[in-house]
């Protein structure tokens, strides 16, 4: 995946099992976000193959961009949670969660609203259903955003530094929700700087450096016995903060 001449993600291949939680860590500019955003085509990779369940989308260099229909089908398999929440400010929490259910899944309003209320309850925000995002704290907004992504019942949830915009204490309430999702068997790919979360919750940690995967492995092993000096340097930098 390139920005002009800059190759942001270079020949990265990642297979995630159903129910698995993968944490992607690595220094700033490593291409973690870009890689994540290639998965649901928020960025268009130069070439590559994305396979979810029995749906495959192949992108070849020099070929025309995939058709809108294909892109929508692919995106329906992924839910995405952003660093900056990106809730729709003109819609209430409930409407934020219901909108795509109605317009993408074609659910009738009463059904989508009751589903949205269930999801709000699940992220601990039943009482915020009729609040606008501007009247919610950052942590609450992020939990609403998680509920919004879950509402489409995606096969995989993608998180791009979901707690980086929050103070540590508020971040915990978001991480707690993510822990619960992991326990429920939701498949997740999480770009994060929260090593504790990566250690306790993920099944595998992937280290990205300079647009490529440097190493990967089970958290205990990778955090205690990193194979590469670059990984050690990164880990100690994060731990020293």
């Amino acid at each position: 995946m390139q920005f002009g001449d800059l190759v942001a993600v270079d020949d990265v291949s990642l297979t995630v099992d159903r129910g698995e939680v993968v944490a992607i860590i690595g220094p700033s500019g490593a291409g973690k976000s870009s890689f994540l955003r290639c998965l649901n085509l928020l960025e268009t990779p130069t070439r590559g193959r994305i396979r979810v369940g029995d749906f495959t989308l192949q992108i070849d260099a020099g070929q025309p961009a995939p058709k809108a229909r294909e892109v929508h089908r692919l995106r329906s398999h992924f839910g995405m949670v952003f660093q900056g929440f990106n809730l729709f400010p003109h819609l209430t929490a409930l409407e934020n969660i219901s909108l795509a259910q109605r317009r993408v899944l074609g659910r009738p309003q009463d059904e989508s609203d009751s589903r949205s209320r269930e999801l709000l309850e699940r992220v601990g925000l039943a009482e915020k259903a009729l609040s606008y995002p501007g009247h919610c704290s950052g942590g609450q907004q992020q939990r609403i955003a998680i509920a919004r992504a879950l509402a489409l019942e995606p096969a995989v949830m993608l998180f791009d530094e979901p707690t980086s915009a929050l103070d540590p204490e508020i971040g915990l309430e978001v991480l707690q929700v993510m822990r619960e999702l992991a326990d429920e068997g939701v498949t997740m790919v999480v770009v994060t700087h929260e090593l504790a979360f990566a250690r306790d919750v993920s099944d595998r940690i992937v280290v990205m450096v300079s647009g490529a995967i440097l190493e990967e492995g089970p958290p205990a092993q990778l955090l205690r016995h990193p194979q590469h000096a670059r990984t050690r340097k990164f880990l100690s930098a994060v731990l020293d903060r």
């Binding site: 649901n40 928020l42 809108a68 929508h72 995106r75 329906s76 992924f78 839910g79 995405m80 952003f82 900056g84 929440f85 990106n86 809730l87 729709f88 400010p89 003109h90 909108l99 795509a100 317009r103 993408v104 606008y132 995002p133 501007g134 955003a145 919004r148 992504a149 489409l152």
Partner: protein, 214 residues
């Protein structure tokens, strides 16, 4: 004397009618124009941009005369009203398209990304995510434009639309009291634009209380 005050005041109907017609045309056409500008290939986009620039660069007075006095040479004769509505309608379209462009640019990248990640189609994204937020940021600008359009409509007096300014001019010729007649005209314009400004602030304040843009 008093009879002329009434005579001028009646022109408010034409002034408001012309302004409203031009504004409604502007909104109705600017939305598809802006859609085309954002979705069409670069060549078409360039044409639309050029048209908008041309419409806005040439004074409305010149457009009025071009259409009113120039078109008959091609066998197209339009009365004062159709001429004024067409010219001010095109002008509104160009200006409102630019206002929409600014409003759309004010919407954060994250909003598009969230809509895309949710799999919203282009139309749904425009209708449910972008449009309401554009409306929210452009209400004050649209109101300001409506007020300037109200004043712009006075130009139609030059081709014989019997609106406020035309009538004040005629009344001046008959009475010789230009001060009174045009003061009256000015006050009527003021009375017409005040409610617009007031309503805009009210609606804006209300929306602002409900949500701020992300």
């Amino acid at each position: 004397m008093m009879e002329y005050l009434g005579y001028i005041a009646i022109g408010a109907g034409a002034t408001v009618g012309l302004t409203a017609a031009a504004f409604v045309i502007g909104i109705a056409l600017a939305v598809p124009v802006e859609w085309v500008r954002r979705t069409a290939p670069p060549f078409v986009r360039g044409l639309v941009n050029a048209a908008i620039d041309v419409i806005r660069a040439v004074p409305n007075l010149v457009w009025l005369f071009l259409v009113f006095f120039g078109m008959p040479q091609f066998g197209i004769v339009l009365g004062p009203w159709p001429t004024a509505i067409i010219v001010l309608g095109m002008y509104s379209t160009a200006c409102i398209a630019e206002i929409l462009r600014g409003g759309i640019a004010a919407i954060g990248q994250g909003q598009w990304e969230a809509a895309n990640a949710l799999g919203l189609r282009q139309f749904d994204r425009a209708r449910f995510v972008v449009a309401p937020q554009v409306l929210r940021v452009t209400i004050p600008v649209l109101a300001t434009f409506a007020i300037s359009l109200l004043k712009e409509s006075a130009l139609a007096s030059t081709i014989g639309v019997l609106e406020i300014t035309y009538r004040a001019g005629y009344a001046t010729q008959r009475t010789g009291d230009g001060l009174t007649m045009f003061l009256v005209a000015g006050v009527i314009y003021l009375l017409l634009s005040l409610p617009l400004a007031f309503a805009s602030r009210r609606v804006d304040g209300r929306l602002r209380a409900r949500f701020s843009l992300g």
